[in-house]
């Protein structure tokens, strides 16, 4: 069966510091990978998605970037965090072969102070 991991689970960072959040998927090959952000009382917002190694599409211009160095690894980064970057970050995967369902990881709670 497939499993998706995210770490860290929680993170408190000062404004202006860098960020690196990691997501890995097990039990599948060539998945589509996604980064979402969830703000309190609002729906999930797609930040980035990737259909293959090195292929990244950005949905919202912002202070963040994403990379996919390996088939089942997806990284969310920032060089300098802003207060507005606080939120709950979720990684998700879907099959690259037609099925549409997206399956989410446990999430990372980021607080920027």
């Amino acid at each position: 069966s497939q499993t998706i991991h995210q770490w860290p689970a929680t993170l408190v960072q000062p404004v202006g510091s860098p960020l690196s959040l990691e997501c890995t998927v097990e039990g599948t090959s060539n998945p589509n990978l996604y980064w979402y952000r969830q703000a309190a009382g609002r729906g999930l917002q797609l930040l980035f998605y990737s259909v293959g190694i090195g292929q990244i599409s950005s949905e919202v211009p912002q202070n963040l970037s994403a990379s996919r160095p390996q088939d089942r690894q997806f990284i969310l980064s920032s060089k300098k965090l802003l207060l507005s970057d606080s939120g709950f970050y979720l990684c998700a995967w879907s099959s690259g072969t037609g099925a549409v369902e997206q399956f989410f990881g446990p999430g990372t709670r980021l607080t920027v102070l």
Binding site: Y34, R42, G43, Y49, V51, Q102, F104, G107
Partner: protein, 110 residues
């Protein structure tokens, strides 16, 4: 742009008191409508995919239905463990992304 509106924002039920959650959507060509359950501090858990009007799916006390403009999630005889936020999302034919509603938070009292 795809839009999803969920109502009500919050729902408080007595154990055994059946009710329905609404998800209204607009999308140019529906690839799928999805229901997820989310517990506090955790990632959404996939429940159902609906593809076309008239389709219904069931899982335990939950039943999801779909029309051309909205979906309903019916909770029959809920138990306290059904307490969670239920999220609705749509995906357009030419989209990778899911467009989510803000969710309905359901609280079931024993």
């Amino acid at each position: 742009e795809d839009q999803v509106t969920q109502s009500p924002e919050a729902l408080r039920l007595q154990e055994g008191e059946s009710s329905s959650l609404n998800c209204s959507y607009t999308v140019s060509g529906l690839r799928g409508l999805f229901w997820y359950r989310q517990d506090p501090g955790k990632g959404p858990e996939f429940l159902f995919t609906l593809y076309s009007a008239g389709e219904e799916k069931e899982k335990e006390r939950l039943k999801a239905t779909l029309t051309k403009k909205e979906s309903f999630l019916h909770i029959t005889a809920p138990k306290p463990e059904d307490s969670a936020t239920y999220l609705c999302a749509v995906q357009g034919i030419n989209d990778y992304k899911l467009s989510f509603g803000a969710g309905t938070t359901v609280t079931v009292r024993a």
